[in-house]
């Protein structure tokens, strides 16, 4: 039965747990970059109120959060057996495809899972063919899952766009790919900040780096400049250097209707 708890608990802003009630999309919201709109806000404060006053609601929410986290852990387990059986490239490719990403072996076409998550099993035969490019956008890869990704020693292009669990710790793990990685995209990752970008200096062969739309970076313009200094051979894309600069009063755009100088 409900236990009434008359405690003095602070109601803090909520980012972690409301996603629980939105079903499976929930875990993608953990990054915290989502702005609540009116209706959601009302739902959330009701949820907060219930959690602060009833032990059962609090326990239920705690349990649901644990379940979401263990789902992510399951998805990111190490496929060491597959690596022994089929070689590192196939094992790594299987990991990416299972997560919902796409892989491209050298001289072959892109392999993508369809909307049901099925993909063609032809890559199991590519024992010696290295994987050239990986598109892991919107995948739930985290620090442990990188164990599998780092099996792909000759990876040239990696796209981690909008991955909700890729954070600064994960970026510090990418240095083994330094010899081959030429293209990296981190656009839209909610947890990547300028501190993680600082560890990309190991990737000296990088030619194209996409750091647009990173909400956790505090000063995008300055960060872009510092990253460009850090990686002189790399084209850093994503932030317009003029972002954050304000137009002075005498530089306001001219009114087009004004007459030109006669």
């Amino acid at each position: 039965m409900w236990d009434l708890v008359l405690g003095d608990r602070r109601i803090n802003s909520l980012r972690l747990v409301a996603p629980m009630w939105n079903g499976t999309r929930g875990i993608h919201r953990l990054g915290g970059a989502v702005v609540p709109e009116g209706n959601q806000k009302k739902e959330r404060t009701m949820l907060q109120f219930l959690t602060n006053h009833f032990y059962d609601v609090e326990a239920l929410r705690g349990y649901l959060l644990q379940r979401e986290m263990s789902k992510v852990h399951m998805k990111n387990r190490s496929f060491t057996w597959l690596e022994e059986q089929h070689g590192p490239y196939s094992a790594g490719a299987f990991f990416i495809l299972k997560q919902g990403g796409a892989v491209k072996f050298r001289d072959k076409e892109w392999i993508r899972p369809d909307k049901y998550g099925h993909f063609s099993p032809e890559f199991w035969n590519f024992r010696e063919v290295p994987v050239e490019a990986v598109d892991a956008s919107d995948c739930e890869i985290n620090y442990e899952g990188l164990d599998n990704l780092l099996l792909l020693k000759e990876l040239q292009s990696l796209s981690l766009q909008r991955c909700p669990h890729v954070d600064d710790w994960c970026l510090s793990r990418l240095y083994p790919l330094a010899d081959s990685l030429q293209e990296l995209s981190l656009a839209g990752c909610p947890r990547v900040s300028e501190r993680g970008l600082a560890c990309l200096h190991h990737l000296q062969n990088l030619r194209r780096l996409d750091i647009s739309d990173l909400p956790a970076v505090s000063n995008p313009g300055l960060t872009q400049i510092l990253v460009e200094e850090m990686l002189p051979n790399c084209k850093v894309v994503g932030v317009d250097w003029a972002e954050g600069l304000k137009l002075g009063p005498e530089e306001q755009p001219q009114d087009t209707a004004s007459p030109a100088l006669a």
């Binding site: 008359l6 405690g7 608990r9 109601i11 803090n12 802003s13 909520l14 980012r15 972690l16 747990v17 953990l30 915290g32 907060q48 959690t51 602060n52 609090e58 929410r61 705690g62 959060l65 986290m69 620090y143 600064d168 710790w169 970026l171 510090s172 793990r173 240095y175 900040s193 300028e194 501190r195 993680g196 970008l197 600082a198 560890c199 200096h201 190991h202 505090s218 000063n219 300055l222 960060t223 510092l226 990253v227 200094e229 850090m230």
Partner: protein, 486 residues
């Protein structure tokens, strides 16, 4: 008739008419009476304050299973792991006593916040590795429903330790041990150093070791707040007060060699409130000394060290406060974003702070130049004379820099061998130590907290074996020396 609800029955007075009232009618002060009744009902309902007994909300509880003296990162870490590893929910009652809620002198908040695995002792490396994985998964360990996720501001930029000719061999063997334990460290020659970090001058450097993963620096306040929040939600009691006395009982016992030992057991801890003489005796069964730089005072209160020198009774806890300075400076042409925490051959160290060309660093003074730990005043001449020359030598860009600010903090310095003291005292059987880490307490706090909790709950170290850190070594004279201190 109105039946009034009052806490003490007024007896016959309830039903008698008061003088001044008219007969037969409810012309009493109805509103006033209703509000009075409401007030009385409210004061009786559970959960609200009752004015019948004196207010003791600022005092600690009268009984507690474990009393942790010191509410810094080590004390809170022990509290967290005690609550996490208890076999039954609510099984252990923990009280944390902290003298200063503002943490103005606590080493945790004033720390530079670095974490690295480049030690020479395998136990230290394991502790740091575990702490790194704790910090990485901090939102799973310290999750509190309804609280926002913690952002530790971790910079994974690594540590770069430089060694001169005479230390190169020691560094090589250290790196071998570190790699064996699982730390990702690599050795670099001066040429490789110059390639990677062009702003460094490799004069006098024979070898360098660079930590690639799980090393860097973070915000210690965030860790403290996160621990505090989680530990409160797990049901640990907090009290602001000072421990002034231990009431203990002694027993004479004979060892197997027929020697007599006096074993002491602490029964009560007297906690004195701030700015008053009021104190509360807390009956407890275990006391944990996590008082940092002031651990020696707490140990002395328990009678540790009172005896003829050279005996086990006479062995004091060799932890004393040592003052260390940290300076923040601005250098516009300084090293770039990839700068790790660089520790020079001379002992000077520095790291980047933020995006705006600010750096912070310092240096450990040699024994003869130790500043007086009386207060936390900063000596700016120390920077000019002892720190800046070494920095400018190592990084030529630092020849032009401007100091913005500086602060000082205490190391809980273990004068015996600069490594922590963990575990029970052999004679005062229920006092456990978690102190004396001499500058790397913050980075080892999660591991040490778990080790102490395991010691208390299971009786021995389960995951990381910290037997080299027990108190006995001070009496036996066996030093567990760490060669890589900063």
């Amino acid at each position: 008739m109105i039946r009034r609800v009052l806490p003490h029955g007024l007896g016959r007075g309830l039903l008698t008419r008061r003088p001044g009232t008219r007969r037969g009618g409810f012309s009493l002060d109805w509103d006033g009476k209703v509000s009075e009744i409401k007030k009385k009902i409210k004061s009786i309902l559970p959960g609200t304050s009752c004015d019948l007994l004196p207010d003791t909300s600022h005092l600690p509880p009268e009984h507690s299973d474990v009393v942790i003296v010191g509410g810094g990162v080590l004390g809170l870490s022990v509290a967290y792991w005690l609550k996490k590893l208890e076999s039954r929910r609510g099984g252990i009652r923990v009280l944390v006593v902290e003298r200063d809620y503002t943490y103005s002198q606590a080493s945790t908040g004033l720390s530079v916040g670095g974490i690295c695995q480049q030690f020479s002792l395998p136990e230290n490396i394991q502790l740091s590795l575990f702490s790194a994985s704790f910090l990485r998964n901090i939102n799973e360990y310290l999750a509190v429903t309804n609280a926002p996720p913690l952002d530790l501001q971790f910079n994974p930029s690594g540590y770069l330790l430089l060694a001169s000719e005479k230390d190169a061999a020691a560094m090589e063997s250290n790196v071998k041990v570190q790699k064996q334990e699982g730390a990702k460290v690599c050795l670099m020659s001066p040429d490789q150093l110059r390639n990677k970090f062009p702003w460094i001058s490799t004069e006098g450097v024979a070898l360098a070791s660079y930590g690639m993963e799980n090393e860097g620096w973070f915000d210690p306040w965030c860790l403290l707040q996160g621990l505090r929040q989680k530990v409160e939600s797990m049901g640990v009691f907090f009290c602001q007060g000072e421990v002034t006395r231990f009431v203990s009982s002694s027993q004479r016992m004979l060892t197997t060699d027929d020697e007599m030992v006096i074993l002491k057991r602490i029964h009560e801890v007297h906690v004195k409130m701030d700015h008053s003489l009021e104190y509360q005796p807390v009956e407890c069964s275990i006391v944990i000394n996590a008082a940092g730089a002031w651990s020696a005072q707490i140990a002395a209160l328990a009678g540790i060290g009172k005896g003829p020198p050279g005996t086990l009774q006479g062995t004091k806890l060799p932890v004393e406060p040592r003052k260390r300075y940290v300076y923040v400076w601005h250098c516009p042409q300084g090293p770039g974003l990839e700068t790790p925490l660089v520790a020079d051959t001379s002992g000077a160290y520095f790291r980047r702070e933020g995006l705006g060309s600010n750096y912070l660093g310092g240096r450990s003074p040699i024994e003869e130049e130790e500043p007086d730990p009386e207060n936390l005043e900063v000596d700016h001449d120390f920077f000019q004379e002892k720190v800046w020359p070494h920095l400018a030598l190592r990084v030529p860009a630092f020849e032009t820099l401007k100091v913005q600010t500086a602060w000082a903090g205490y190391y809980d310095y273990n004068t015996f061998d600069q490594n922590g003291v963990v575990g029970p005292h052999p004679l005062v059987v229920n006092m456990y130590f978690a102190t004396g880490f001499s500058g790397h307490g913050l980075q080892q706090a999660p591991g040490v907290g778990r080790a102490v909790a395991e010691m208390i709950l299971e009786g021995s170290f389960q995951t990381i074996d910290l037997s080299p850190f027990l108190f006995n070594r001070f009496y036996l004279g066996e030093k567990t020396q760490e060669n890589n201190t900063m």
